[in-house]
C-alpha cells in the first residue's frame, strides 16, 4: 500500500510546504481589507473560510509574529484614529463641566444628558470593539492556538482589549487634559450622585460602561485582581461615597431624631445594594456596604445612641420599632453590639440605682422611731404602735424594692424580645446589669428573703396555684442574680424558722416547693440545712405522738395531766437566736433555768426520760421562750351571767405567770419582782408578757396597778375576775416577737456572723485546693478559690489573703521562698 503513494507524497510537498509560497503582503492585504469591512460592520459577505485559510497559511509559513503585529497595529490605528475621534466628539460640552467650573452653570438635567451622551458613545464603541474582535479572533483562531501559545503572547483578543484601554481610555483627550477614563469615572460618579439625590438616571447605560471596565485589565497579564474596574473606578467610587456619607451622617445627626436617622441609614444601605446590582458591579456590594456602615453606623453609633432622642428616650417611650432599627444597624457592623449593650447597661444601672435609693430612703425615713426604740428597750411599750408601723413600712419598702426590680427586669426583657430579637449579647448585658444593681444594694439578700416571707405568710392566701408559681418564680429570678447567696441563706433560715415554729406559714407545701426550686437553682448544699429544718419538724411530730401514746400506755391517766406538744430542733440547724429579744444578744446560755411549777416540771422530766430512752447521749435544752400553751381559764359568774370559761392561747411564759395566780385569792396581787423571782423569767420577757396580759385591752386577764401602758418595777398584778371576751378562744399575743427588717445592730451582728462563716468556707476551700495541688502560685490559688466559692458568695480578695496568712501561721501552708512568683506549698 505505501508503495503507490510516492506520487502524492510529492504533491503534498509542493502544496503544503514549498509549493504555494505565501506572499505575506498580498495575503495580509486580503485580511486587512476584510478587517476593515468587519469594523465598518460590513462583514456579512465575507467568507470565513477564506480568511481563516489565509491566516492559517501565514502562520504555517512562520510569519505568525508578523501577522500578530500587523493585526495589533491595525487595531491600534483604527481605535486611535477612528473610534477615539468619534467619542471625543461627544465630549466637548462636557469638558467644561469636567473642569469643575461648570457645576453651577449647567443645570443638572443638562449635565445628566451630556453625560449620558458620552456614556452612550463609549458603550457603543466598546460593544462594537467586542463584536469585531470576536470575529477577528474567530478568523485568527489558528494564530491564537499556535503562534500565541508557542510564543507566550497574550491572545489577540486580550491584546486588542489592552489596545482599547490604552488607545481609548488612557490617552488624554488633548494635551494636558484628563484621559477618557478619568472623565468616565467622574461622569459615572456624578450620575450616581444624582441618583442618590433622587434623580432618575439611566442605570443600564452605566452598567454597560462598568462591564467594560470589568472586562479590561490594568496590565496585559489578565490577573483577576487587576481589573480596571477595581483598580480605578471602584477606588474612586468608594472614596467619594465615604466622603458623601460622612457628611450626610453628620448632618442627619444634627438635624433629625434617632428614629429617622436609623430609617435613613437602613434605606441608604439598601439603596447602595440595589445600585451595585443594577448600576455597578455585584463585586462592589460588600465594599460599599462597609463604607456606608462605617460612615453612617460604626462612626456614628455612639452619637446616635446618646442623642436626646436616642436609646434612653426610646426605652422610656416604648419605641420598640425604633429600638429594633438601632439594633439592626449596630448588629450590621458588629455582632457584639458594644455601643448598644453599653447604653443598655448604663440605662439599667441608672434606673436600678434609683430603685435602690428609693428603697433606702423609704426604709430610712420611718426608721427614725425604730432606732429610738432600739436605743431604749425600756421605752418599748410606749412606742409600740409606732415601731410596729415602722417595721411594717420597712417590709413594704422591701416588697416594693423587689417588685420594682422585677418590673425593671420585665421591662428590659420585653424590650430585648420585642426590639432586639432576644439577642444573646444584649440579653447578657441586661442580665449583667441587673446583677450589678441587685448586688449593689446592700440589703438585697434580706429584702428578697423578706419578700418570700411576706408572701408565705400572707401573700399566697387565696391565690391559685399558677399565681403562686409566678410569685415563687419571681423570687427565684432575683435570687439568681444575687451573688452573696450565703447571706441570703442566713436570712431565709431565720425567717423560715419563725414561720415554722410560730406556724405562720400558709402552706407547708408551698414552702417545700420553694425549697425544691432553690435546690434546682442553687444546688443541693444550699438547701441542705433548710431541708433539715423540715425534717426536724416532721420528726418532732412523730416524737410528740410517740410520747403521747407512751403516756397513755403508762396506764394511770391523770385527767389533769397536761398534754405536751414538742419540737425537738437540732441546735446547729436552727437559727434560734432569732427568737431572742433584741436586748438579749449577750449569750444567755448560762442564765438560770426557768422555774416550772411541779405539774409542768413533771411533764418535762417525763418527756426527757422518754427521749433519752430512744436517743441516748443527746442533751435537750428547753427553749421555753419559743413555746406556747393552751390553757383553760375559768372566771366566776358576774352579775347576770354564769361561770365563763375561755380557752386561752398564750406563750409558755405567760402560762407560767398565769399559773401563779391559780393559787392566789382573787383579791390579792403579786408584784413584778415577786413574779420574776418565782418564775425566773428574764425581766425583758417578763415585762413583755405581762404587758400583753395586763395592758392589751382584749386579753386583759390580769389587772395591773397602777394602770398604765408600761410595765414598771413595783407594779402589782391581780386576777381580773371580770374578764370578758366575745370569743371562747382568746389568743394572747406577745409584743414584738416581730421578724421585720433588722435593726442596724442586728445587721452588724448578722454580717459578723456571716463573715465568720465565710472565713471558714474560704479556709476550707484553700486547704482543699492546696491539698490537691501541693504547690501553687498565689494568683492561681486566688482564682481557684474564687471559682470554688462563687456558688455561695463572692469572696473578698482581702479576706482570702488574710485567711491564707492565717493558714500560714497555723502551718497549713508555707511560702516557697525561691519561687519566681509568690507561691505556696501545702504542709501535710
Amino acid at each position: 500500500m505505501p508503495i503507490i503513494a510516492a506520487g502524492t507524497m510529492a504533491n503534498a510537498k509542493n502544496q503544503g510546504l514549498n509549493g504555494a509560497d505565501v506572499d505575506f503582503e498580498t495575503t495580509w492585504g486580503i485580511l486587512e481589507k476584510a478587517f476593515q469591512e468587519i469594523h465598518t460592520k460590513n462583514a456579512s459577505a465575507l467568507s470565513f473560510e477564506e480568511l481563516y485559510r489565509n491566516a492559517y497559511k501565514i502562520v504555517l509559513k512562520k510569519k505568525g509574529e508578523e501577522l500578530y503585529n500587523h493585526v495589533a497595529q491595525f487595531e491600534e490605528s483604527w481605535l486611535g484614529n477612528t473610534v477615539r475621534v468619534e467619542i471625543v466628539r461627544h465630549l466637548t460640552a462636557l469638558l467644561m463641566l469636567g473642569e469643575g467650573t461648570g457645576r453651577t452653570m449647567n443645570t443638572q438635567t443638562e449635565r445628566r444628558e451630556a453625560g449620558e451622551r458620552f456614556l452612550k458613545s463609549l458603550k457603543g464603541a466598546w460593544e462594537d470593539h467586542q463584536v469585531c474582535m470576536g470575529m477577528l479572533t474567530d478568523v485568527l483562531m489558528y494564530m491564537d492556538r499556535v503562534y500565541c501559545t508557542d510564543h507566550r503572547q497574550p491572545s489577540i483578543f486580550a491584546k486588542s482589549m489592552g489596545l482599547f484601554r490604552d488607545q481609548i481610555l488612557r490617552t488624554p483627550v488633548r494635551q494636558g487634559s484628563p484621559t477618557l477614563l478619568q472623565i468616565l469615572t467622574r461622569i459615572i460618579l456624578d450620575q450616581i450622585q444624582m441618583d442618590r439625590d433622587g434623580e432618575a438616571i439611566d442605570q443600564f447605560l452605566i452598567k454597560a460602561n462598568v462591564y467594560m471596565l470589568e472586562g479590561l485589565y490594568d496590565s496585559d497579564q489578565e490577573v483577576e485582581d487587576d481589573k480596571l474596574y477595581l483598580r480605578t473606578f471602584e477606588l474612586e467610587f468608594l472614596h467619594s461615597s465615604a466622603e458623601f456619607y460622612r457628611e450626610e451622617g453628620e448632618r442627619l445627626l444634627k438635624e433629625s431624631d434617632a428614629g429617622t436617622y436609623c430609617r435613613h441609614a437602613k434605606r441608604r444601605i439598601d439603596e447602595e445594594n440595589d445600585r451595585c446590582r443594577s448600576t455597578l458591579s455585584e463585586s462592589t456590594t460588600p465594599k460599599i456596604q462597609r463604607v456606608v456602615e462605617d460612615e453612617l453606623i460604626r462612626h456614628k453609633m455612639k452619637g446616635l445612641i446618646e442623642m436626646e432622642t436616642g436609646v434612653a428616650f426610646m426605652v422610656e417611650n416604648d419605641k420598640f420599632h425604633e429600638l429594633s432599627l438601632v439594633f439592626d444597624l449596630e448588629a450590621r457592623v458588629d455582632p457584639k453590639k458594644p455601643e448598644l449593650t453599653k447604653a443598655m447597661h448604663k440605662l439599667i444601672t441608672e434606673l436600678g440605682t434609683n430603685i435602690n435609693n428609693t428603697a433606702i430612703t423609704a426604709s430610712q425615713t420611718p426608721a427614725q422611731p425604730a432606732t429610738t426604740e432600739e436605743a431604749g428597750d425600756d421605752a418599748q411599750g410606749k412606742s409600740k404602735g409606732g415601731s410596729a408601723k415602722a417595721i411594717n413600712q420597712q417590709t413594704v419598702a422591701a416588697l416594693k424594692w423587689v417588685e420594682d426590680i422585677l418590673s425593671l427586669k420585665d421591662r428590659f426583657d420585653h424590650v430585648c424580645k420585642a426590639s432586639f430579637a432576644s439577642d444573646q449579647a444584649v440579653s447578657t448585658a441586661i442580665n449583667r446589669s441587673m446583677a450589678d444593681i441587685i448586688n449593689a444594694f446592700s440589703r438585697g439578700s434580706e429584702y428578697i428573703s423578706l419578700f418570700i416571707d411576706d408572701n408565705m405568710k400572707k401573700g399566697i392566701k387565696n391565690k391559685s396555684e399558677a399565681e403562686i408559681d409566678t410569685t415563687l418564680e419571681k423570687a427565684i429570678t432575683i435570687l439568681r442574680y444575687l451573688s452573696d447567696k450565703d447571706i441570703f441563706e442566713t436570712y431565709y433560715k431565720k425567717h423560715l424558722c419563725k414561720r415554722l415554729l410560730l406556724k405562720k406559714s400558709q402552706s407547708i407545701d408551698v414552702e417545700k416547693q420553694m425549697i425544691s426550686r432553690m435546690k434546682i437553682e442553687l444546688g443541693n448544699s444550699f438547701t441542705l440545712k433548710l431541708e433539715a429544718m423540715f425534717k426536724d419538724m416532721t420528726l418532732s411530730e412523730e416524737l410528740a405522738n410517740g410520747y403521747r401514746s407512751h403516756v397513755r400506755n403508762l396506764g394511770d391517766v391523770d385527767p389533769r395531766r397536761m398534754d405536751l406538744g414538742i419540737n425537738v430542733l437540732t441546735a446547729m440547724t436552727w437559727p434560734l437566736e432569732a427568737f431572742r429579744g433584741a436586748g438579749e444578744h449577750e449569750g444567755n446560755e448560762g442564765k438560770a433555768q426557768v422555774i416550772y411549777p411541779p405539774s409542768i416540771d413533771k411533764v418535762r422530766l417525763g418527756f426527757e426520760h422518754y427521749y433519752s430512752e430512744t436517743h441516748s447521749g443527746r442533751r435537750l435544752t428547753w427553749q421555753t421562750n419559743m413555746g406556747d400553751a393552751d390553757i383553760k381559764g375559768t372566771f366566776p359568774k358576774s352579775k347576770g351571767g354564769k361561770t365563763r370559761s375561755y380557752d386561752i392561747n398564750c406563750s409558755t411564759y405567760a402560762m407560767l405567770i398565769l399559773l401563779l395566780f391559780n393559787d392566789l385569792p382573787a383579791d390579792q396581787s403579786i408584784s413584778l419582782e415577786e413574779i420574776q423571782v418565782r418564775t425566773n423569767i428574764s425581766m425583758n420577757d417578763l415585762t413583755r408578757n405581762l404587758q400583753s396580759l395586763s395592758v392589751a385591752p382584749k386579753t386583759r386577764v390580769l389587772l395591773k396597778t397602777p394602770m398604765s401602758r408600761e410595765v414598771k418595777a413595783g407594779d402589782r398584778f391581780s386576777f381580773n375576775e371580770g374578764f370578758k371576751s366575745e370569743y371562747i378562744k382568746v389568743k394572747v399575743g406577745v409584743v414584738s416577737a416581730g421578724n421585720k427588717v433588722e435593726g442596724d445592730r442586728e445587721r452588724k451582728e448578722t454580717e459578723k456572723k456571716n463573715n465568720d462563716s465565710r472565713s471558714f468556707a474560704i479556709e476550707a476551700a484553700v486547704v482543699r485546693i492546696m491539698k490537691a495541688r501541693k504547690d501553687l502560685s498565689h494568683a492561681q490559688l486566688l482564682t481557684e478559690t474564687i471559682s470554688q466559692l462563687s456558688a455561695q458568695f463572692k469572696p473578698d480578695v482581702n479576706m482570702i489573703k488574710k485567711r491564707i496568712e492565717s493558714l500560714i501561721e497555723r502551718e497549713y501552708l508555707e511560702r516557697i521562698e525561691e519561687a519566681p512568683v509568690a507561691s505556696y506549698r501545702y504542709l501535710a
Partner: protein, 670 residues
C-alpha cells in the same frame, strides 16, 4: 496456564474463580467473549510481529481489520505478547488502538503480571479501562451532545410530544431508525412531526437519547411512573423499529456487562451512521469543473438532509491523469438507497443531474469535488464550529446550500469526512502527510495523531528492531517518504512523534544524508527554531540524531558480545574507555576516546582517527554498495577494515565527526 499466574492484588484462587465465572457467563451467552480465539494466518502474523516488535507489520495487520483483542491457541493476546517481550512502543500503539487491559480480569492481570519491566507495566496501568476511553466515545458524545447544542443551529426537524418539543436532526433519525428513514424518504422537506400524545415525554426522550448514541438506563422514576415510561418506550421502540432499545433497558447487569453492551451499542450506532454516510453523503458527491463549482445550487430540502457543501479542489499541477482513479467511480443510478422514495430536489442549477451523469464528464482541466454534508457533524472540528457560529457568510442562512471550500485534495477531504462521521481513520501512507496538515488546520487532534502514527510506523522502511540489525545504513527498498518533509511537518504541526521518527530515520541512514545540502538546511532550520524560542545552544535535531546514532551502534556492539571482548582487552589496560563508550552512549564521545576504541581492535587500520575523519571529509564519495559487493569490509571512508566490528567503530567515529564539521560549518555550537 492459569496456575502459573500470580498477582499482587488478587489471590490465585480469586482469579481462578473469576475466570470460572467468566467462562460460565460467556458460555451462557450473558457476556461477550472479549478475547475470542483467532487462528487465522493474519492473526498469527500479527502475534509474531508483536513478539519481534515489528511496528510496521503490526500497523499493516491492524489496518486490515484484525481484532487486536483476540487470542491465539495459547491464550496469548497481542498485548500480552508485546508487553512480555518488552516492546514499549508496540504496547503503546496497541493500547492507543484499543487493546484492552482491564484490572480485575484474568487477561488483564495476566498482561500486567507478564510485563517485562516497570515502564511497560506503568503504561498498561495508565491505560486501565476505567481511565481510558472507548475509542468511539468522542463520536458518541458529540452526537449525544447535539441534543443540547443550540449554537449554531443544526436541527432541522422539530418533534412535538404532548408537552415538549425536541429539535432533532433528520439525518440522525434516518440513519438510526428504519421508521424515520421511510418517513423522511417519503417527505424529506418535513420540518415537524407530532408524536402520539399517549406516549410519555420521558419515554420519547429516552428513545431519542438512544438514537443519538447516548447512554440510556438511567433511572426512570419509580412505581407507576416507571411503568408508564417503560411501556411508552416499548411502544416507541417497536414503532421506530429499534427493538434493541427496550431489551437493553430491561437488562441491567453488572458494570462489565453494562459496559460491553454499551460498547456494542455505540459500535452498532456508528455502523448505522457509517452505512448511511456511505449511502448518502459519499454517493452524492459531485464532481464538477472548478470554474463552475461555485455555481452549483442545492436546495435546502434535499433527500439527504445536507445543509452545507464542502468543496475540495484537485491539485492544480495534476498532470498524471489518474487523479480520479479513486473518486471517479460513476454510479449513475443510486438504486441501492436506503430510502426508496424519490430524491426530490437534489441538485439543481448548473448541473441538473450531475450525480447521475458523471460519466459524461469530459475530464475538465481542473476539477473539484463537492460533498454534501451536515453541519451537525462538521462541528466536531472547532474550525467548522466557529465558522458556522460566526456572523460571516458561512454563518448566515441562505436559500441554497453554501459551498465551503476546504484547502485539501478530495481524497483527503473524504478521509476527514469519514473520520468526522464515523471515527474511522483508515487511509494509506500516501495521504498521511496531507491528512496530517489538514487535520492540523481543522484542529482534529485525533486524526492528526493517527496520521503521525501511520507515518512513523509505515513510513519507516524497516521497523525499529530491524533497524538495529542494519547498522551499516543500508538503503531501503521502500524508501518512499521524503524524510525532510516529514520532519518539517512534525515541526509545523507540533507532533513530537514525527520529529523523533525523523531523527531516528536519518540517524540510521546518516551516511546517505549527511552530505546533502538539504540536510544542512534542515539543521539550520532546527537551530533557528530553538533560538527563536529561547537562548539555548543545543540543536534539537542534531541531539536527536546523535542519540539515535549511538543507539544504532551500541545495539550492534552489545549484540555481538563486545562486552566480553572488552573484558579480555581489560588486561591490556586499554579497554576501559570503550566500555565507557558502549555503556554511556549518550555522552558525545570526544575524539580521544575514539582513538582508543580503534586502538583496541583495529589491526588493519593505522593512523589517528581524527585525521582519518578529516581526510574522509573530502574523500567520501565511493560507492559503498559497490565496495560491499566486492565482499571487502571497508569503512565509510573507503579504508579496508579488519572486520565488521572495526568497521562499525570507525564508521561511528566518522559519522560523529561529520556532524561536528557540519555544525562548525553552520557556525553552531554542538
Amino acid at each position: 496456564m492459569a496456575d502459573t499466574q500470580e498477582t499482587k492484588l488478587l489471590g490465585k484462587h480469586q482469579l481462578e474463580k473469576a475466570l470460572y465465572e467468566e467462562h460460565k457467563a460467556v458460555s451462557s451467552g450473558r457476556l461477550k467473549e472479549e478475547n475470542p480465539l483467532d487462528t487465522s494466518a493474519e492473526f498469527r502474523r500479527l502475534c509474531e510481529a508483536c513478539r519481534r516488535g515489528d511496528l510496521k507489520v503490526i500497523q499493516e495487520q491492524i489496518g486490515k481489520g484484525i481484532n487486536i483483542n483476540a487470542r491465539d491457541e495459547y491464550d496469548y493476546t497481542p498485548l500480552i505478547l508485546a508487553s512480555l517481550c518488552g516492546h514499549y512502543e508496540v504496547v503503546q500503539m496497541l493500547l492507543e488502538q484499543g487493546s484492552l487491559c482491564e484490572r480485575d480480569t484474568f487477561q488483564g492481570e495476566r498482561c500486567l503480571y507478564n510485563a517485562l519491566n516497570d515502564r511497560i507495566r506503568n503504561l498498561l496501568l495508565s491505560y486501565d479501562y476505567s481511565k481510558s476511553t472507548d475509542p468511539l466515545q468522542p463520536l458518541a458524545a458529540h452526537i449525544t451532545g447535539l441534543l443540547a447544542r443550540e449554537i449554531p443551529k443544526t436541527a432541522d426537524i422539530a418533534v412535538h410530544t404532548g408537552e415538549a418539543t425536541f429539535d432533532l436532526h433528520k439525518f440522525v433519525l434516518s440513519a438510526r431508525s428504519p421508521f424515520f428513514a421511510k418517513k423522511l424518504a417519503a417527505a424529506p422537506e418535513t420540518t415537524s412531526w407530532r408524536l402520539s400524545s399517549s406516549v410519555p415525554t420521558q419515554s420519547f426522550e429516552t428513545c431519542i437519547r438512544y438514537l443519538y448514541l447516548g447512554d440510556v438506563g438511567a433511572d426512570l422514576g419509580d412505581g407507576e411512573e416507571e411503568q408508564a415510561i417503560l411501556s411508552g418506550i416499548d411502544k416507541l421502540s417497536r414503532q421506530l423499529e429499534v427493538p434493541q432499545l427496550f431489551d437493553n433497558l430491561l437488562h441491567s447487569g453488572d458494570r462489565r456487562q453494562a459496559r460491553q453492551r454499551r460498547t456494542e451499542e455505540v459500535e452498532k450506532g456508528r455502523d448505522h451512521i457509517a452505512a448511511w454516510f456511505e449511502q448518502n453523503v459519499l454517493r452524492h458527491k459531485l464532481e464538477v469543473d472548478s470554474e463552475k463549482a461555485n455555481a452549483v445550487k442545492w436546495d435546502r430540502d434535499n433527500g439527504i438532509f445536507a445543509d452545507v457543501l464542502l468543496r475540495a479542489d484537485d491539485p492544480e499541477d495534476d498532470d498524471n491523469g489518474d487523479d480520479e482513479a479513486e473518486s471517479a467511480t460513476p454510479d449513475p443510478a443510486p438504486t441501492v438507497r436506503q430510502t426508496d422514495g424519490p430524491l426530490n430536489r437534489i441538485p439543481i442549477g448548473a448541473f441538473q443531474h450531475p450525480s447521475r451523469s458523471p460519466s459524461r464528464k469530459r475530464r475538465p482541466k481542473r476539477s473539484s469535488v463537492l460533498y454534501p454534508a451536515h453541519r451537525a457533524m462538521l462541528l466536531r472540528s472547532e474550525v467548522f464550529a466557529t465558522m458556522f457560529a460566526s456572523p460571516f457568510r458561512e454563518g448566515q442562512s441562505s436559500t441554497h446550500l453554501q459551498i465551503v471550500p476546504v484547502d485539501c485534495t478530495p481524497e483527503v477531504l473524504e478521509v476527514i469526512l469519514t473520520f468526522l462521521y464515523t471515527e474511522k481513520a483508515d487511509f494509506g501512507l500516501g495521504l498521511a502527510l496531507d491528512v496530517l496538515h489538514a487535520a492540523d488546520m481543522l484542529f482534529l487532534e485525533k486524526l492528526k495523531q493517527r496520521a503521525a502514527l501511520l507515518i512513523s510506523t509505515l513510513g519507516n522502511g524497516s521497523a525499529s528492531v530491524v533497524e538495529a540489525e542494519n547498522p551499516r545504513g543500508e538503503t531501503d527498498l521502500l524508501d518512499v517518504v521524503d524524510i525532510y518533509d516529514v520532519i518539517r511537518a512534525g515541526w509545523d504541526t507540533r507532533v513530537h512523534r514525527l520529529e523523533e521518527f525523523g531523527a531516528r530515520y536519518i540517524a540510521y541512514r546518516l551516511e546517505r544524508y549527511i552530505d546533502e545540502p538539504e540536510f544542512k538546511a534542515l539543521v539550520r532550520e532546527s537551530a533557528g527554531r530553538i533560538r527563536g524560542r529561547q537562548e539555548t545552544d543545543t540543536v534539537e535535531l542534531v541531539d536527536d540524531v546523535r542519540y539515535y546514532l549511538s543507539e544504532r551502534f551500541r545495539l550492534r556492539f552489545e549484540d555481538a558480545g563486545l562486552d566480553d571482548l572488552l573484558d579480555e582487552g581489560e588486561g591490556e589496560g586499554r579497554g576501559a574507555p570503550l566500555a565507557e563508550l558502549a555503556d554511556a552512549p549518550l555522552a558525545p564521545p570526544d575524539n580521544d576516546a575514539g582513538a582508543k576504541v580503534e586502538g583496541v581492535e583495529d589491526e588493519g587500520y593505522s593512523g589517528s582517527p581524527p585525521k582519518a575523519t578529516a581526510e574522509a571529509d573530502g574523500a567520501f564519495a565511493p560507492d559503498i554498495e559497490a565496495l560491499e559487493a566486492q565482499g571487502v569490509v571497508r569503512t565509510l571512508d573507503g579504508e579496508i577494515a579488519g572486520d565488521e566490528f572495526a568497521q562499525d567503530a570507525i564508521n561511528y567515529q566518522i559519522l560523529l565527526g561529520k556532524i561536528e564539521r557540519l555544525m562548525e560549518n553552520l557556525g553552531l555550537d554542538g
